[in-house]
């Protein structure tokens, strides 16, 4: 058996790992506007993309324009992304809804900072969890991913692009300042070691193509603009041809499909890491940098003879319900630490429905949640 080629190791910032992941996934377009603590993503893209064949980097006049440009590039066939932080994320929300409705794949990275408003620009927080879920208007499905260390920043960025392309939808990668600004040794995967998924393009002649037609997976193929398939794209509720409609049957068909193409594939979309959960009586549910503190706390609790476990959420939405339900069959207590007033514990309580007692740990002072804080709550049982 040939020996696996040694992976290249680099010492990288979380934000730098996002760029590496994006480029490995085939990203060739970045449009954005700088904001702390996401700025390094933009700066490194500004260096790297112009050196790559057809790679485009453009600094736009604001976040609204950034989203517009990224969606435009996506429609022209590119794998495209932008990155921002709290206030910029709010500005992106209208066009985020557009991308969902027009089914334009793209990746939006939001490195969360303390808020509301300009808040605590350089401090860690996880205050945009529900904004990521419900920030844009209307009823819509959304995919939101997160990462808790630098290696995961790379891996989850690749995953974000793959899901965006597979499901023709924007994917949000929610990071926090700690993860983005941590520098660690990571491994760059060798080519062929990771999946790169690209959107399906139509194979039928242009006259037969209906841009929003039902398919087995609910995801219609998407040709790049200018490739001979001429059709209309709109944010208005549209029929299979892409033309605006208010006919109830057509409205329902579109909305059903947009939801179903995500709902159908929960097993592929809902990603978690389960650490010591097999026999756990008390389970911590955490994401982002907090999950790292939680992992240490769980180890320490085990050393003290407490059957603790960790469910690390890598997908925040759709909320990984079935993984939580499995844990509810054995755990008596769930502990949800987060750097907000309880945005994810709401989801946990919704799924829990009174089965276990849910204890929350909430920090909103711009400080990280420490392992000892979590351990203290675990030891209280």
């Amino acid at each position: 058996m040939p020996r696996r080629k040694k992976r290249k190791e680099i010492f990288a910032l979380g934000n730098e790992a996002v760029v590496e992941g994006a480029l490995l996934a085939g990203c060739s377009f970045y449009g954005g506007y700088p904001i702390t603590p996401s700025t390094e993503i933009m700066e490194i893209m500004a260096q790297r993309l112009p050196m790559i064949k057809d790679g485009v980097f453009i600094q736009l006049e604001d976040e609204i324009a950034s989203m517009g440009a990224v969606i435009g590039a996506s429609m022209a066939g590119r794998k495209a992304m932008t990155a921002t932080s709290g206030p910029g994320f709010s500005l992106m929300q209208e066009n985020l809804g557009y991308a969902i409705m027009a089914e334009a794949p793209m990746v939006l990275v939001n490195v969360m900072r303390g808020g509301p408003s300009t808040g605590l620009p350089t401090c860690p927080a996880q205050g945009d969890v529900q904004q990521a879920r419900w920030g844009t208007h209307g009823d819509h499905p959304i995919i939101v991913l997160s990462a808790s260390n630098v290696q995961e920043c790379l891996d989850m960025t690749i995953t974000a692009f793959n899901m965006a392309e597979k499901y023709r939808t924007p994917v949000i990668l929610l990071l926090d300042e700690v993860t983005s600004h941590t520098r660690e040794k990571i491994e760059l995967p060798n080519e062929g070691e990771y999946e790169v998924f690209s959107r399906s393009v139509p194979s039928m002649p242009p006259e037969w193509y209906k841009p929003y037609e039902e398919t087995v997976r609910g995801v219609p193929p998407m040709p790049p603009i200018g490739s001979g398939y001429r059709f209309h794209v709109t944010g208005l509720t549209h029929d299979r041809n892409g033309f605006p409609t208010q006919r109830p049957s057509e409205v329902v068909e579109l909305m059903d499909r947009i939801h179903r193409k995500i709902d159908q594939f929960f097993y592929d979309i809902q990603l978690v890491d389960e650490i010591q959960t097999d026999d756990c009586e008390i389970c911590v549910i955490a994401y982002g940098s907090v999950a790292r503190s939680a992992e240490l706390a769980v180890q320490q609790a085990r050393a003290n003879g407490v059957k603790a476990g960790l469910l690390k959420l890598k997908t925040l939405f759709p909320y990984p319900r079935r993984h939580t339900e499995k844990i509810l069959a054995k755990a008596k207590t769930l502990v949800v630490p987060e750097m907000n007033m309880g945005q994810m514990s709401r989801e946990v309580k919704r799924v829990n429905m009174g089965h276990a007692s849910v204890r929350t740990i909430n920090r909103i002072d711009g400080q990280i949640v420490t392992p000892s804080e979590i351990l203290k709550v675990i030891m209280q049982g």
Partner: protein
């Protein structure tokens, strides 16, 4: 092409699978602008697949749905940002934006300034009807001082924006103004705008009798076309007029004609240089 009539040309470019009738009021100038756009593209023999029409939101924004190009109906005010992404992603495409005056000058004003400054190779059509048509006649940045609108029942107090001056000041490569009364002139400047590299802007004055005329002194769409005929004069003549003679008149024609290289061309040239240097072994 001389053997076919204007209408036959238009029919070649309309979408047969789109259910007509269209949403525009009878007598609206927007359809005339669309006609000139189609004839300009036809006269330049640009293949349909190479044209992308990117529209904003408003009555003007709805034009995109009827024409058989690649068409994108974006969010209110943001057409130019979508267009910028499309053009950068595929510079071979002819990207044309259709925006209303509210769309382009109010909510999208910042994008307009920066598209012009950046000199992105996009043709921007601003359909100025002095009002917000689609939402029912509220005032826009182009509503003339003194006129009445739904949100200015006592008269517009502030001065209106001059689209041409704005685009010129922001550094657009090509800036022109026409009206739907002077159709041939409008068609020729539009053709010129599409051909040019860099950012081109054409302001088309197009009457909205339903929302603007009704509230002001123009009872019918015919009154509004008469008003255009009276008000608009060629810029060459306008420039020779005294301050007093200019009052109430509006210059039309070409205002800026430059040949700066488009942003996307510069970007890809820079990239080609990098790749050449890399191929030689240097970096």
């Amino acid at each position: 092409m001389s053997s076919i009539t204007g209408n036959e040309v238009i029919h070649q470019y309309l979408r047969h699978n789109k259910k007509f009738p269209h949403v525009l009021c009878a007598g609206c100038g927007h359809g005339i602008v669309l006609g000139t756009l189609i004839r300009s593209i036809h006269s330049l023999s640009i293949p349909k697949d190479d044209v992308v029409v990117v529209a904003g939101i408003g009555c003007s924004g709805r034009l995109a749905v009827y024409v058989d190009f690649n068409t994108v109906h974006t969010t209110h005010g943001r057409a130019l940002s979508f267009a910028t992404g499309i053009k950068m992603a595929n510079p071979k495409l002819n990207v044309i934006t259709i925006m209303g005056d509210g769309d382009a000058l109010s909510i999208g004003g910042n994008h307009l300034i920066h598209a012009a400054r950046r000199n992105i190779g996009v043709t921007a059509l601003v359909l100025n009807n002095n009002i917000y048509g689609m939402t029912g006649g509220q005032s826009s940045p182009a509503t003339p001082a003194g006129s009445t609108t739904m949100t200015n029942p006592y008269g517009q107090l502030d001065k209106s924006f001059d689209t041409v001056e704005l685009a010129r000041g922001a550094g657009a490569n090509y800036v022109a103004r026409g009206t739907v009364f002077h159709v041939n002139k409008l068609e020729s400047i539009m053709t010129e705008a599409i051909q040019r590299s860099g950012f081109s802007l054409v302001e088309a004055i197009t009457p909205c009798h339903t929302q603007f005329g009704r509230k002001n002194k123009y009872k019918s769409s015919v009154d509004m076309y008469k008003w255009l005929k009276k008000t608009a004069i060629p810029v060459e003549r306008y420039e020779k007029m005294s301050e007093k003679e200019r009052e109430g008149r509006m210059p039309i024609g070409e205002f800026v004609k430059k040949d700066r290289t488009g942003f996307e061309e510069k970007y890809y040239a820079m990239q080609a240089d990098f790749l050449k240097a890399e191929a030689k072994g240097g970096k």
